[in-house]
Symmetry: C2
Subunit: 305 residues, 2 copies
């Protein structure tokens, strides 16, 4: 096989109390990539969308990830990638991770799946580095593994799949820019031990809630006393969106990644749609373009078609 | 029924990375209490051991817990408790919790189990307050629930039982005094966000490891970057005990509660006994009396006999 088309899903990182350690894969939207194996080392990127992303491999997320992968390939081969981005860059639902993870999963398939998922994550993290300057796995891991993933440690890399009950996700994407570097820069470098204990109690509760299929426990645990109080000021209407979503029946939710998107989890589709209506009602009164959609946490990550 | 005898087990709180939120019940040692329901409000304590604990109810852990329970009882009744303490006070394996939890579980049985486990925990926390000045549940919860318990939140109280695979526990009790208030006083009130993230990654990994019966993950997650580096200086030989225990095959371990006891977890009894031998070899060279024993995490808490 010398050519493959893959769909690479959007993902939500952090998941309220799970800052820097948790993420999950969505059942959409997806980026689409056609990946062709060619002779001669190197990566050629062809963008088939209107985002004007760089095509020089070292400056492109797909390129950064595939160049890292090719370093581990002894054969004199390379890849041509036709990328159709659907997930808007900078939206906070793992756009760069979808590019990086999709490219390496597809390329690996053309190499007869010689690399492990952990190796693929390491390659894809080099793509993330091109996008944000830091090698983080909290979107890449769920993009490759599917479902809810825990990054217990980034160095050494330790990824754990967390079983979870069916969960519907309402996404709000306000059309504003929140730079990851800004969102990280405003965080305090020190936190109180008291808040840290509250946070790890909630993280423990959230993991237990997922694994026990206990929606009430998931809901009680979706509390972030460390990051959300600071970052939420970057998202217009955050408090009102959250309040109305909970009133509409959401289990909880918060900032997706470093924003500006927000996500809300619900037990069933009808509730997730009611939450979407509640969010639209709030955002209609805010002078910012936005869009919303309802999807699910998907146990599948990158898909081959 | 007007009289009951109960056995109340020792417990381990904190569990390395789970500072202030995790605990588990041991299959021994136990305190023994004979509890008798009598007419007329009040609590009478008869100590049948050599610890010279106060018998005035308001100054005694059993008394504090039972007085709190009696406030919720409309009938004009009280309790006489004959307490035989086996778990040495101040050892760090939940001696005061065993008194408080055992007393309220036994008394509740004489009241036809009218109170929920959560209510019993609240009463028992009033006993803990007598011992340490603070109402904490991290020993009481496992003492009453058995097994591994998560205290997601103390206020409001939110206790979650965490299923876990069979685990053997090696306990070292150096015969020194570490006051809970001192052990708490030396902790820093602020921690770095980076360390906090490492800690909650490990907490999440530990919960997932318990629930997936994944001994390797439990082992990798038993890391405390926040409390242990500070508190371990209060325990002579801490680093050497830990190092030799890991070499002998322990999954991991650390300070039990606020010390001075240490605990090490192992997958099987033979390993736990090898760990005990390794610990004895270290402590024989330290000029402090000590004792060790091997037990298991028990899914039973307070038992009626």
């Amino acid at each position: 096989m010398t050519e493959i088309t893959i769909l690479s899903p959007a993902t939500v990182a952090n998941v309220v109390c799970g800052f820097d350690i948790l993420g999950f894969a969505l059942d959409g939207p997806f980026d689409k990539m056609l990946i062709r194996k060619v002779s001669g080392k190197g990566v050629t990127i062809i963008n088939k969308d209107d985002y004007n992303l760089p095509t020089e491999p070292a400056k492109n997320v797909i390129g950064g990830a595939l160049l890292a992968l090719l370093e581990a390939v002894p054969e004199d081969i390379g890849f041509v990638v036709e990328s159709t981005k659907i997930i808007k860059p900078g939206s906070g639902i793992g756009s760069s991770a979808a590019s990086a993870a999709g490219a390496v999963v597809g390329a690996n398939h053309l190499l007869n799946d010689r690399f492990s998922k952990e190796e693929l994550i390491r390659f894809a993290m080099c793509g993330e580095e091109v996008a944000s300057g830091s090698k983080h796995a909290d979107n890449i891991a769920p993009c490759i593994y599917g479902g809810v993933t825990l990054i217990r440690s980034s160095d050494p890399l330790d990824i754990i799949s967390i079983p979870a009950p069916p969960l519907y996700v309402t996404i709000l994407h306000p059309q504003i820019e929140v730079k990851t570097s800004d969102a990280r820069g405003i965080l305090k470098k020190q936190v109180s031990l008291k808040d840290a204990i509250t946070q790890w109690g909630n993280v423990a509760g959230l993991i237990a809630g997922f694994m026990k299929n206990d929606y009430d426990l998931i809901s009680r645990s979706l509390v972030d006393v460390i990051v959300e109080p600071i970052r939420s000021i970057l998202i217009p209407g955050f408090e009102e969106v959250k309040k109305k979503s909970l009133e509409a029946g959401a289990l909880g939710g918060g900032i997706s990644g470093s924003g500006p998107s927000m996500f809300m989890l619900s037990k069933d589709e009808a509730t997730a749609k009611a939450v979407e209506m509640a969010i639209i009602a709030v955002y209609k009164n805010i002078d910012i373009d936005f869009h919303t959609h309802v999807t699910t946490i998907s146990n599948e990550g990158v898909r081959m078609i």
